[in-house]
Symmetry: C2
């Protein structure tokens, strides 16, 4: 039910112009992107500048109006979903690169800039912004920052948090916190950007950022390996990371449950496999460097030594860009999993020594509850991050909750986390206690209350209700 | 003036045992390490466990007793200095490694563990904890975390913040916040460890941590280069970082003012120079990898190409460990600078494009005020971090403040920071406004007040007084 506030609406239109506010029937035409909850807010404010955001928040503070900030709306946990009494604040008109400084190797951007725009601008300057994820075309850097996005290169470059040098954000009362430094080292009292990165828009609205760029590494080597057991997959990770001297940039493990489905000829979305489909584990590895000949030679030599040592059962080394893309297509073949719908997808993280027992126990519990279920595993092993797909025969909130409970409750006693990279949003709030103690959650509430005493920013997200 | 609280003292002794509290005459025998202000607290509590810290803080909350946490007392800005009405909380009895997990590549440690103990334990397991700094023998990991220490390997591994997976801290009211996860990816609501890293003991007392270990890289290549101008030093940094494919682990620039003094035969602490002493800039570079032969060949080839291109005027490549140590000895020769005492040392950070103009302007201002002064520059150029040494003929608080004002005020308009790695402590509080806005400082006060409403934790440090 929409809770339009006519007085506030008028002030917002005065402030932002008529194109600056979407309301009424026009709301129905909005693209909801990946939002699962399609409820529209009563209006969408579309600021063009940080000063606009500040002015909007001053008005919202005055009226006690709750605000949900929206970027590309490609989040996985409905952190940007709205209810009818929210005002949405879309950063779609705050897109653009303010500066690319090749000497400092920094890029200054507006929060609404799509990730891919940033990646391409960096590459045009022979540099790289190494954050990468599937939604790159529409996900915005502000959303990446607010959710501390992970993605494909975390093993080498870290999460989004590690790639941000400076940040500007607007507080609930409209105060602008501008910490737009361009330096790696800055120990001048509290590092306030940490208060906004990964807090999913609940403590402030990210408006601009200074990004750290890296050298563009053009020498890539890619291979698909097959191994017989999980211990070997873990040992190989450590050995390859050491022997490649830090150039390992991907170590993606596919359990047979994933690989066999992604390459299953009977699945309409399958990709072709370059090796037998019945090995227990497959690993996609990639290194990046700059010494093409030497890197390729090292890559080949190291893999041969692992083959001779009996650790690798089979290996295909990409000889062309097409080969490389063919191998990645198997790993990225989410389409083949969607054929098994209804499916539930999980994004968890746990330390490597605890993985095997966790998966065995959890799969058994799922199969005991639903003997026909599919339990499919793949993930960024180098980061301890697993994605689990559970396909059962029912698509209902009750089933969703029942599977969640099996997956999440078993993480509690082994220090596992219920969200490695997707965040909490609205979807995982009720399971937060599986990864965080009552004391931690109480401290989060203390911080939230201090910084947003009226609870205006993304209310009802991330934190469970106070008990 | 000591403000002993006999009732609290008795309760502390009951809690920690007589060896757990130092007071009265015994205080005079305490090693003050690098603390400049030698004022003793009225007592020192020496907890053995997190539960002890929690119990101490519950008592202190009850009595309104301020607490200064102390590790190795090797900080550079007197962040661990005490006044007579403080209780010091020393973590010297909380030292030790609880677990080293070679599979997860993590180490779980008590906060009072010296950095060097951690480095050595990692290396014994063929792993590396890459944080490194001069005070490694006595600096504790808790202090490194509380100050977000930088050091020699930041260009490749980042600050301490990047090396911490899990953290446990005790709040002012004794609440234990235990976030001892072992995983790289953890987006389960607010990342509370960020609230304690780099906040210098003002928001909580770090008690334990989970450290992220890296592969041990045994193939090192080191060289000393001479270049003719600052632009070339900057260009070379970008080019070498790219051409070495991410293996560059040090890029230390010495201005002639530093190099010529460090190698000055008339200075009693001088080191011998392997090349002429009159080049404008010297650069110590290091790469680390694992492919010894290939790495050495690449190192040599890349440097030769820079020499042929006229970018490098002179180069000495270390052929032995003794060579390598000889080159580093020039860079680490702080002893030679101490011969110029009284000296003032600065630790600033600014983006590379702004450096040359800043240094020219600042040196001119120093020399205008004190024509006989020495102005010496060196630093981690790869991190934008410069150390400046100013030697004038007077050692007084007034002179100190006057030089501070010249160095810090010029950073304000160019986004420079007054503390790259040392922190703010007591020494830089009054200049914090040169790097942080009034809004930023107000937000810090909001956070501090919410988390420590009685202002018990390290009061009078880091933040300027409220205006």
């Amino acid at each position: 039910m929409s809770q339009c506030n006519p007085a506030l609406l008028e002030k917002l239109i005065n402030l932002l112009g008529s194109g600056g506010v979407i309301y009424g029937e026009d709301l129905a035409n909005r693209d909801m992107a990946w939002l699962k909850d399609k409820t529209t807010p009563w209006a969408i404010a579309r600021p063009k500048t940080t000063a606009d955001i500040s002015a909007v928040m001053k008005l919202c503070s005055e009226y006690g109006q709750s605000v949900v900030t929206q970027g590309g709306k490609t989040g996985m946990v409905d952190g940007a979903a709205t209810s009818g009494d929210n005002l949405a604040l879309s950063l779609e008109r705050m897109s653009g690169i303010e500066e690319l400084d090749p000497l400092a190797r920094t890029m200054t951007v507006l929060a609404g800039t799509p990730l891919q725009t940033i990646q391409e601008a960096a590459e045009a300057a022979k540099l790289s912004f190494p954050l990468d994820l599937g939604a790159r075309g529409s996900a915005t850097i502000g959303g990446n920052i607010a959710t501390n996005a992970g993605g494909n290169s975390v093993i080498r470059y870290g999460m989004t948090r590690n790639l941000i040098l400076g940040l500007e954000a607007v507080l609930a009362d409209g105060t602008v916190i501008s910490s737009m430094h361009k330096v790696v080292k800055n120990n001048t009292a509290y590092d306030l950007k940490q208060w906004f990165i990964g807090t999913e828009g609940t403590l402030g609205i990210v408006s601009r950022a200074v990004l750290k760029l890296s050298p563009l590494l053009h020498s890539e080597n890619t291979a698909l390996l097959a191994v017989n057991d999980f211990d070997t997959a873990c040992t190989l990770l450590r050995e390859l990371d050491r022997e490649f001297g830090g150039s390992l940039s991907a170590y993606e493990v596919m359990w047979n449950s994933f690989f066999a489905e992604s390459t299953n000829p009977e699945n309409p979305a399958h990709k072709s496999s370059p090796m037998p489909r019945d090995y227990p584990y497959y690993i996609l590895i990639e290194t990046r460097g700059t010494q093409s000949e030497k890197d390729a030679e090292t890559f080949q030599q190291v893999l041969e030594s692992k083959f001779e040592a009996g650790q690798i059962q089979d290996a295909v080394v990409a000889q062309s860009i097409a080969d490389k893309e063919g191998l990645w297509a198997i790993r990225d073949n989410i389409e083949s999993l969607l054929q098994l719908s209804p499916i539930l997808t999980y994004d968890i993280s746990l330390s490597i020594p605890t993985m095997a027992a966790y998966l065995k126990d959890t799969e058994a519990a799922v199969l005991e509850a639903w003997p026909e279920a599919r339990f499919i595993v793949f993930g960024h092993l180098g980061d301890g991050n697993l994605h689990i797909i559970v396909a059962t025969d029912e698509d209902s909130p009750e089933r969703h909750h029942a599977v969640d409970a099996i997956i999440y409750s078993r993480l509690k006693n082994i220090g596992g986390v219920i969200s490695a990279e997707h965040g909490i949003g609205t979807e995982k709030r009720s399971f937060l206690h599986c990864s965080r103690s009552a004391e931690e959650i109480a401290m989060m509430h203390t911080i939230k209350t201090a910084m947003d005493p009226q609870n205006l920013l993304n209310p009802g997200k991330v934190l469970p209700d106070k008990t």
